[in-house]
Amino acid sequence: MIPIRHWIVVTVSLVGTALLFLGAFLTLPAAGEPAPGYLWVALIGAWIIAWKSVSVVAEVFDGRRAATPAAALIFGITLLLIWEIVVRGAQISPVILPPPSAIAARFAASTDILWADFLQTAKGVFAGYFIGCTVGFLAAIAIDRSPFLTRGLLPIGNLVAALPIIGVAPIMVMWYGFDWHSKAAVVIIMCFFPMLVNTVEGLQAADRMQKDLMRTYAASYGQTLMKLRLPAAAPFIFNGLKICSTLALIGAIVAEFFGTPIVGMGFRISTEVGRMNVDMVWAEIAVAAIVGSAFYGAVALIERAVTFWHPSQRG
C-alpha cells in the first residue's frame, strides 16, 4: 500500500507541472509576434518541475509494475508539450519542425491516405517477414544436423549481419518490379540471416545433461527437437523474430524509395518531402512508429506467452 502522503506529493508535483505548462500556453504570442521573455522562464520552470515529478514518481512507485510506464508517460507528455511551446513560441518555420498539434490535425484529416499507404507497405512487410523468418528457421534446423556446416555458416552469418544489405533494394526493384513483391524480396533477404544465426545458436542452448536425459529415454531426433531443443531455443528464436520485426519495416520503406506504384509509406515520405509538406511526413512517421511498436510489442507478447519459464520473463 502506498502511504497517503506519497499520493499528495505526486499529485502536487503533477498539478504544479500542469499549471506551469498551462501558463506557458496562455502566454504564447499570436503568430508573427516575438515571444515574451517570461514564456521561457515558465517553460524552464515547467521542465524542472516535470523532471522532479518524474523522479518522485520513480521513487514512490519504486518496485511496482506501474512505475516505469508512469514515469515514461509523464516524460513523453512533457516532451510533446515542450516541443509544441518551443515551436510556437520561437516561431520555428513549419517546414523545419511542425508543432505536434499540426501533425495531429494532419493525421486526423488524412486517415484514408495513411491507411492506403499502410496497407500497401504492410503487404511487403508481412509477406517478407513471414517468408524470410520461416526460411531462416527451416534452414537453421537443416544445417544444425551438420556441425561442419554450422561452423562455416555462423561466422559468415555474423558477418552478413553487419553488411548494409538494404543496398540490394535497387536490385530487387529491378528484378521484381515496382509492386510489393520487390519489397517483400528485400525483407526476406534482410530477415534471413538474423533468423538463421539466432536459431542455430538457440539450438545449441540445450545443455549436455538434458540431451543425455533425452537419450536415456531413447528419444528420437524428432522428439528431442520438439520436446527439448526447440523450447530451449525459444528465447533465441524470439530474439531473432524481434530483430527482424524492426528490420522488416525499415527494409520495405527504404525499398519504396527506389520505385513504387503511387502509394506506400516510403513513396509518400519521399514525395511529400519534395513538396515540403513536412506535417504529412510526420504523420507517416507517427504511423510508422505506431506500427513498429505494435509489431514489436506483439512479438514480445507472444514471447512472454511461449517462454514464460525463462528467467528473463520472470523478473
Binding site: W51, V54, S55, V57, A58, E59, D62, A67, T68, P69, A71, A72, I74, F75, G76, L79, V95, I96, L97, F148, L149, T150, R151, G152, L153, P155, I156, L159, A161, A162, L163, P164, I166, G167, V168, P170, I171, V173, M174, W175, T246, L249, I250, I253, V254, F257, F258, M265, G266, I269, S270, V273, M276, V278, I285, A288, A289, G292, S293, Y296
Partner: protein
C-alpha cells in the same frame, strides 16, 4: 583454425550459387536476342554469353571483380568515377556519426546508471526512439538539416549517430551494472567515492560489453550513411552510386558499390574486434 575449411566451403558454395543464378537470370535475354536474330543458340554458347553481358540482370562474380578493379586501381583517387573516392565520402560520414553516437551512448549510459530518475524516464524513450524507422525518414531529416544550413557530411553523420547510439547505450548500461554487489560493497568498505567506483570498478567491467556494442554501432552507422547518401546523392558516396546505378540500369555499378560497402563494414567491425581483443588482453581478461 578448425572452422577455416567449413567457411571456405560455404563461400565456394555461395559463389557457385551466384554463377548458377547468373546463368538462370541472364538466359532469357540471350534467348530473346537469338530469336530476334533468327538463329538457334546452342546451350554452351548461351552459358558463355551470360557471363559477359553489358547490362546483365545479375552480373557474374568475375564481372563485378573486374568492375571494382577498374574503378579503384585504374582510376585516379580524386576522380569522381573512382570507387575509392566514393568509399572515402561514405567512410568519413560513418566515422563522424559513429564517434558522436559512441560518445552520446556512453554519456547516456553513465547518466542512466547513476540517476534513478533518468533510468526510469529516459530508458523507455531510448528504446521507443528505435521503433521510429529513422532510415525511412532519412530524406526528411536531410532536407530539414539542409534548410538549417547544416553541411551534407554532418547531416549524414546525424543519421548515423541516431542509429549508432542505441546499441552503445544498451550495452554500456548492462556493462556498468555488471559488477556484483560483493564488489560494490568492497568499494564501499574502502570508502571509495562515486567517481572512484566508476573509474576503478564500473568502467573496467563494462569494457567486455562495450566492444560488441561498438561493432553493432559501426555497422549501423555505415548503413545510416549509405541510406542518407541516397537522398544526398549530389555529394557522391556509395549510396549515391547505388541510386545512380539503379536510375541508369548499371547493375555492375550497383554490385560494385554493394561489395565496397560490405568490405568497409567488414574492415570496420574487424578493427573494433581487434582493438577489443587487445584491450581485453592488456586487462588480463583475454582468452
Amino acid at each position: 583454425m578448425r572452422s577455416l575449411l567449413p567457411i571456405i566451403t560455404i563461400c565456394a558454395a555461395i559463389i557457385a550459387i551466384w554463377y548458377a543464378g547468373t546463368i538462370r537470370m541472364n538466359a532469357q535475354w540471350e534467348y530473346d536476342q537469338a530469336e530476334r536474330a533468327g538463329v538457334e543458340i546452342p546451350f554452351t554458347e548461351m552459358v558463355a554469353n551470360t557471363m559477359s553481358q553489358e547490362r546483365p540482370m545479375l552480373p557474374a562474380p568475375h564481372q563485378v571483380a573486374a568492375e571494382i578493379w577498374e574503378t579503384t586501381a585504374e582510376k585516379k583517387l580524386t576522380s569522381k568515377r573512382s570507387l575509392v573516392w566514393h568509399s572515402w565520402i561514405t567512410l568519413s560520414a560513418t566515422l563522424l556519426g559513429f564517434a558522436f553516437g559512441a560518445i552520446l551512448g556512453i554519456a547516456l549510459a553513465v547518466g542512466i546508471v547513476h540517476s534513478r530518475a533518468m533510468d526510469r524516464s529516459v530508458m523507455p524513450w531510448v528504446i521507443a526512439s528505435q521503433t521510429i524507422p529513422i532510415l525511412a525518414l532519412a530524406p526528411m531529416f536531410i532536407v530539414v538539416l539542409n534548410a538549417l544550413n547544416v553541411e551534407g557530411a554532418v547531416a549524414k553523420a546525424a543519421i548515423s549517430t541516431y542509429l549508432s547510439f542505441f546499441p552503445v547505450v544498451v550495452g554500456m548500461v548492462k556493462g556498468l551494472r555488471a559488477p556484483d554487489q560483493m564488489q560494490l560493497d568492497l568499494m564501499r568498505t574502502y570508502n571509495a567515492s562515486a567517481s572512484a567506483t566508476f573509474w576503478k570498478l564500473r568502467l573496467p567491467s563494462s569494457l567486455p560489453f562495450l566492444f560488441p556494442s561498438l561493432k553493432i554501432a559501426a555497422a549501423a552507422s555505415l548503413i545510416g550513411a549509405v541510406v542518407a547518401e541516397m537522398t544526398l546523392s549530389q555529394d557522391g558516396g556509395l549510396g549515391a552510386r547505388l541510386l545512380n546505378g539503379s536510375y541508369y540500369g548499371q547493375t555492375m555499378m550497383i554490385w560494385a558499390a554493394l561489395i565496397a560497402a560490405s568490405l568497409l563494414a567488414g574492415v570496420l567491425v574487424a578493427m573494433i574486434g581487434g582493438a577489443g581483443k587487445a584491450t581485453m588482453k592488456r586487462m588480463g581478461m583475454g582468452r
